[in-house]
Amino acid sequence: MLNHEHIIRRLTEKFGSSISFEEPYGFLTVTAPAADNLKVLQFLYDDEELKFRFLTDLTGVHYPDRIGEELSVVYHLHNLVDNVRLRLKIYVPSTQPDVFTATQLFPGANWMERETYDFFGFNFIGHPDLRRILNADEMDYFPMRKEYTLEDPQRTDKDDEMFGR
């Protein structure tokens, strides 16, 4: 049976110290350098023991406070044979959010990457059809980034000092 120690060992053998591991709430989370995302995904896919061949989810997160690595792409992978899940995270700067596309490996990543592009502005290099998907085509910003507040920041009639963020 595939366990977390074994996955960590296999990945460390292959990629050395460039990747790091966490286990929040028992969910193995791997952080890799952005340039290696495809290599890690390919290794996880091809390896006879790991077999992470199901892409559950792909999404983005914006951390404006992490200077130089503001944007993150999060992959959720699933090994359906041994029923183990894994999360892969990569970080890129918001000034140059270039990420290699996973569509060659997982055709289902197509729309997920389009959605992530649509909301965060990642440039998925090699994506066959990188267009907006849910928002209007003529939109010129990426709304899920934290600088776009949900409420008008000019509002003065509401005092959030005591309660709220």
């Binding site: 929040p24 709430y25 969910f27 989370t29 061949r53 199901f54 892409l55 559950t56 989810d57 999404t59 997160v61 914006h62 999060v74 959720h76 359906l80 029923n83 899940r85 999360r87 997982f106 055709p107 289902g108 990543a109 197509n110 729309w111 997920m112 959605e115 909301f119 998907i133 849910l134 928002n135 209007a136 709304p143 899920m144 776009y148 949900l150 409420e151 309660f163 709220g164 963020r165």
Partner: protein, 421 residues
Amino acid sequence: MADNNIKSMLPETSETTNGRHHIKLSEDSLAKQTTTLNLGPTHPATHGVFQNILEVDGERILRTDPTIGYIHRAFEKIAERRPYYQVTPLTDRLNYCSAAINNIGWHLTVEKLVGIQTPKRVDYLRVIIMELARIADHLVCNSVIGVDTGALTGFTYVFQYREKIYDIWEEVCGSRLTTNIGRFGGFERNFNQAAWDKLDDFMRTFPRAFEEFQILLDRNRIFMERCMGAGPITAEKALSYSVTGPNLRAAGVDYDVRVANPYSSYEDFDFKIPVGTTGDVYDRYMVRNTEIWESYSIIQQAIEKIKDLDPSIYHADVPEFYLPEKKDVYTKMESLIYHFKIVMGETNILPGEVYHAVEGGNGELGYYLISDGGRSPYRLHFRRPCFIYYQIYPEIIKGGLLSDAVVTLSSLNVIAGELDA
């Protein structure tokens, strides 16, 4: 009509001599052998807001270009501004055919984040609600496949039972379609006698009606001819496109979140995961039908199991997160304090990162939640099964007939709310 207006409507290559217009079509227009057809955004056959621009050769579909996002409501962004308990009504509006599963899935996610253990009775009550939602969802899908193939009768047989499910929900939470059912830690109130009576009535009368529905369609030659071989998905393709739920199982892969990662005590129940072989419309229809029977059996088991448990328990004892009953808020100091803290978003939710998945009506419904310790989620992402598997649609209808495309769409059970979030 003014002369200029007519001119503006003619192709640019047209000429006008002595006040007469000579229409000249562009060079390639006569050579074009195919027709471009716009299906949607609102079309009675699509049951929702879907636009597909089809390139057809006669009745055969050559190419499809789907446009989505017509009812995008930015739930992920809105959730970043709301306290946790106010996100529940947003989840209602994802897959509105089985809103209760979405609500409970969200509650389970937050319970995982803050570490709430729910009592067994709460788990079983939730299982009853979720399986009723699954039945309602599958009933809509399957009866609508019937409607799209021209068999309206089956629809009228079973839709009454969807109403009965809504009646049960109404007793439990007060609303029918967008349920907003439950709270973190359990339910807002215990099931009353009327709810149990209505559930009992449903359990008594539903099998006969559903059997009748199956007699109408399952072995109906016309229905079979329309459905078999239409829009097939192979297991390999389904997996590579991250398809989940009944559509994946119809292709022959026995993946079900209820079994793979049991939540809400699903491990206590005995049920089967039906699988198909070819992944065509008929297989998807049959898988959903079988799942309805399995859900029915799960509800029966849950009703039996609940009889041995303390009937007064309907929520976990977590005053910090569980919104107290209104009458306690007015009479008890402690409840008033907790009510105030929860409503003002002052509960202590620690930073963390969780992914929780439930088996929704259409597949793996996942919640990826990042908390930074604030009053609302730092980031919340819904893994919406519809959104992910709808991208396979252009591929599976290619080369098929236009009428097959319509049944294929209804058999995939794409729900616009979940598609567009």
